[in-house]
Amino acid sequence: MANRRFKQIVAFGLALTMTAGMGAAAAYADDGENIVLRFSWWGAEARHEKTLAAFERYHELHPNITIEGEYSSIDTYYQKLVTQFAGGTAPDIIQIDQPWIEDFAMQGQLLEDLNDYTDIIDMSTYDADYLAGWCMNGDRLEALPLGLNGYTTMYNKKALEAAGIEIDSSTELTWDDILTLGEQYKEANPDGIFLHTDPNTLEKNIFRPYVIQQYGGYFLNPDFTIGFTRESLINAYNYLIELSDRGIIQPLNETATFDGKIDQNPVWVNGQAALCIRWVSDLQQLLNDNVDIGVCRIPVNEGAAETGINCKPSMVATIYTGSEHKKEAAEFINWMVNDEEATTILADCRGVPPTERQRTQLQEAGMLNAAMAEGISIAVANAGTPQNGLSDNAEVTAISLDIIARVLYKQISPEDAADEMIQRTEEKLETLKNS
């Protein structure tokens, strides 16, 4: 009998625990005075440490506010965020990539209009044109930049020196230089790779600038038409074949394993790779004991219509419309970008900071990575068309990557590849236009 009673109690207990578990999440978010804010971002170790340190300091200053970090690597960040949006559980403050503003705008109002928070966030520190150019969804200001970014060539000084190749920050490489220097490098270091890539880098930072430089303008136009031409694609595919056939880049199948983790590829880790074309904000992630990074302009052929250098905010801070603590979220963002102490704590963990005040402070304190600052100024000085969010559409990128892979595996000729790219991109644009 006692045993039976016991079983009943256990059963009820179990059932209760389940309901309690579901209720707990709601109860814990807000018990009057104490507020928990959730902040999500992606990045490498240094960014995690500094961001968490900033949360801790903010909690000391505002004991009733606790900020919880949700961080992951970039490769799954977007999907997780979309799922959270769908479930209404997205964090209060979300670090997103600038092109996503446009992406999310097509899906409804997910991000707060920060124009409503001008009394909390001091935006006078930002360049107004910069905000207008990068952070607007119609007349809604949906984001604040946390860092500046642009394409740059990063070269490993140690590897180049060993191979007897001279490149400095004033070198203006052409794509043909990459081929000739690449072969020179290969002779000095047969196991080395001159141009370090992963599939995504190959598509975004090499293929696209090469295409865009030929005509100048958008990759995909804002009116849902293609910007690229058949000829520009064919030339770019042919160039990629050159790179691959001459062994200037690592075969696609070997880099695929490290897609999105370019800094973890043994070729780079061991200092066997010479250069890499990436966002300036990736610089710190790419540093290691075998790598000493210098920067210069990305390769541009003579007579190019433009440089194809994409300059934009590296990461932007947004507030989720579903947040229950929007005011507190705005207060934290204000502290993050405008407080001197916050600037000291966060330093350049999100790339070169976006406001003049932050940059001056860090420079005076000697806390701004010199190569990074140089990379930004070279990129800005040579900036090309600021590419729109549409051009960054995930499905178009996937189509382009798939076609590049087939070109490099010699499954399709550059001409057929160009035709397929045009046809499939136009199909996709048609559906995007009608949605």
Partner: protein, 293 residues
């Protein structure tokens, strides 16, 4: 009072399961069916678009048949391998050897690790070009081969991970083997049947219901497989050679915002699986031997 409680009691015990079943299985099942006729994008209100998703999958999706083909190849690689391997190990572990319990546990271990991400990452490090396998082969003078990056081998490497996780089928086989009465085998032996004859003529037919069960369960699971392939070859591998159906669903739903389309594709997979399962059951009547018949 007491009587009423008694009627109620059972439901309380299975309440956690019931909750899981309704909230995590039945609800998504029904909802995905509804979504499959819409242009649902996860974030925006869905609109009814009729059979458009289904028509698109069959007529205008360059990856649909490709991915289906990859998935069939994957099942063809992994299913026989897994079952044969599980059966062989089960037969060996059915011997009376000292410390057999330890061996049984050891062989079951890979399955506990399951399709977990950690194991998949480990797999990547074993088979990548600078990986463990090539290092070992290098000692014997073989040149490094890119197992995962080569379109000819990548799918097989992913399937191999599945084959390696033969534990759950093995345990079922082992239980089946224990159920076969030693008298039957013994009398066959006395009648002069050799070891192979005893295995193929006595053991295997008596084991056939379990073989069928394992075959069907593993097949269904393989058709729906996702995580290992996704971790080892994030974008569907070289030339999409490991672009399993599950990966296509994931990409359409969570990367491209085409949840309605992904729902439709998952229902197509459901129909495929149920048709094949039905065929297997119909076909199996001649092959499977039930002892009580």
């Amino acid at each position: 009072m007491k009587k009423r409680w008694k009627r109620f009691e059972g439901y309380v015990y299975i309440a956690p399961w019931l909750f899981g079943f309704f909230a995590l299985q039945l609800y998504p099942l029904v909802v995905s069916f509804i979504y499959s006729f819409t242009d649902f994008s996860m974030l925006k209100e869905p609109h009814y678009i009729g059979l458009k998703n289904y028509i698109q999958a069959f007529t205008n999706d360059p990856y649909f048949f490709k991915s289906l083909g990859v998935t069939f190849m994957y099942v063809l690689y992994a299913l026989p391998g897994k079952l044969v391997f599980a059966l062989i190990i089960a037969v060996i572990l059915n011997q009376k050897i000292r410390g057999i319990g330890i061996f049984r546990t050891l062989y079951y271990l890979p399955s506990i690790l399951g399709g977990s991400v950690a194991v998949s990452i480990l797999w990547r490090f074993i088979f990548m070009k600078d990986g463990m396998l090539n290092n070992i082969l290098g000692v014997f003078g073989f040149e490094a081969f890119d197992w995962i990056g080569n379109p000819a081998t990548s799918l097989f490497i992913v399937a191999l991970l599945q084959i390696w996780q033969f534990g759950s089928s093995m345990v079922l086989f082992l239980a089946g083997l224990k159920n076969i009465s030693p008298e039957v085998i013994e009398s066959a032996r006395i009648d002069g049947a050799g070891a192979l004859q005893r295995f193929f003529r006595i053991t295997l037919p008596l084991l056939s219901p379990i073989i069928l069960f394992n075959f069907v369960m593993q097949m269904i699971q393989l058709f729906q497989d996702f995580s290992a392939a996704f971790v080892i070859t994030p974008n569907g591998g070289p030339l999409k050679k490991t672009y399993l159906y599950g990966m296509m669903l994931y990409q359409n739903g969570f990367q491209f915002f085409k949840m309605g389309y992904a729902s439709a594709q998952s229902w197509v997979l459901f129909v495929i699986i149920i048709t094949i399962t039905g065929c297997i059951f119909a076909f199996s009547r001649k092959l499977v031997h039930y002892e009580d018949e």
